[in-house]
Symmetry: C2
Subunit: 253 residues, 2 copies
């Protein structure tokens, strides 16, 4: 029996137009699609010949065990199928790609990787800001607030870098997260929450760090969302539209 | 006279197939294309109706002054044209998008942003690694070694975060950069250089940090390239192919 292959594919932040040309081509030729629940379900329409299996991995929620997803990938590939493992955003930022690549190498199953736009970039586009405006910083750090051992990231070390922080999977504990950041950053540090960046239900708020959690809660923002913190976020178009930068601002798509 | 608009467009890391579907559509309808020299010149073929102007901004090299690029954008937009400012990678990571967005807002010229795949993600794909393997780290920091004031980034603070480092524009001074990192990181920290990620001339080397500069030089690697440093890089497929992880490894496309 011929061995198939597995493509780890980043589906981008939500808007199907933000798929890469290669991703669309790969989906069109897929035999089996394993669809992450952070990826747009409409992507199934781009894989007309594929058996589509929904495998959720959203932090905290009811989800398919990682080991089962890996067994599924290997079983179909060994049966000669082209398996496309679709992840929201980029394939190599968070989301267990490391474990899946290791499993594929152990099993000696051929694989390829197709990058996608991570939601932190789409969030910056929604705000109309550079993630790394050179007047304010020299880089950006993508970090997850959802850790295997439920410990907190080292916010003091992250703040000390002076990079813009793009925090993923943080909405479920945005209050404690902001409290932790306020111990190591200025209360008026510009910050924002962008929900469903690039998707039809995109919404964002900008507020100084000490009012971000309250502002996001009042606006009813929830997951999936990216929390952005740093002086570069003070350039947001939303804030340019207001006179008082200490005033929180909400925008809906 | 009608006002046109400006699209800040991320062209991805090099392979035209890594353009987004939206980016291809926007280029097809462009009147004027301002092409960054880190973007693939072949992209001009995707804009058959556009006047294509090459505006280089590569660090250190001969380049078009930023103020001139901004004046050009505004002049054509005010003349009613759809100007597409094409940047390598993503539109909002490094590359002066912050200044250009500010200029567009000051001039009240309508703009839109189309994200692209940044070369750090394509570099991880070339290596077959997750940027954030949860066995090793909780995030990734994208940082430029090329600072306006020619000072060094705060490597100690960056190392203290434990995030994977993706260092852009560092090849011209990789020796001093690695020396600085060796003062704050283990000599055997896994590291890699990926030149022209995703492009036809993609090449990469993996080596422990204390041998990275020498290995990259011996392999003749140059700009544009991304330097990746951190334990997550130790998962590179290249290294799995060797028995001795202390041995540097080169791969060519």
């Amino acid at each position: 029996m011929t061995t198939g292959k597995v493509t780890l594919l980043g589906a981008g932040p939500g808007d199907p137009d933000l798929l890469t040309i290669r991703a669309a081509r790969v989906l069109a030729s897929a035999d089996v699609v394993l669809l992450d629940d952070l990826a747009n379900p409409a992507l199934a329409d781009l894989a007309p010949n594929a058996r589509v299996i929904h495998v959720g991995k959203r932090g905290g929620c009811r989800s398919t065990p990682q080991a089962f997803i890996e067994r599924l990938m290997l079983r179909y590939a060994r049966a000669g199928r082209h398996v496309v493992r679709v992840k929201g955003g980029d394939a190599l930022l968070f989301g267990r790609a490391g474990e899946e690549l290791a499993a594929l190498r152990r099993a000696q199953v051929p694989y390829e990787i197709v990058n996608g736009i991570s939601s932190g970039f789409a969030a910056a586009a929604a705000l109309g800001v550079s993630l790394t405006h050179r007047d304010h910083c020299q880089g950006v750090t993508f970090v997850t607030a959802h850790r295997r051992d439920h410990s907190e990231p080292d916010w003091a070390a992250l703040a000390a870098t002076g990079t813009t922080l793009a925090i993923y999977m943080g909405m479920s504990r945005i209050d404690s997260l902001c409290d932790a950041l306020l111990r190591v950053m200025r209360a008026d540090t510009p910050a924002a929450v962008v929900q469903s960046a690039s998707a039809h239900d995109e919404r964002c708020v900008c507020a100084p760090l000490d009012r971000l959690a309250e502002t996001a809660r009042d606006a009813g923002l929830g997951s999936p969302a990216v929390i952005l913190v740093g002086d570069a976020i003070g350039e947001a178009a939303l804030l340019h539209a207001t006179t008082e930068q200490r005033e929180p601002v909400l925008r809906q798509a």
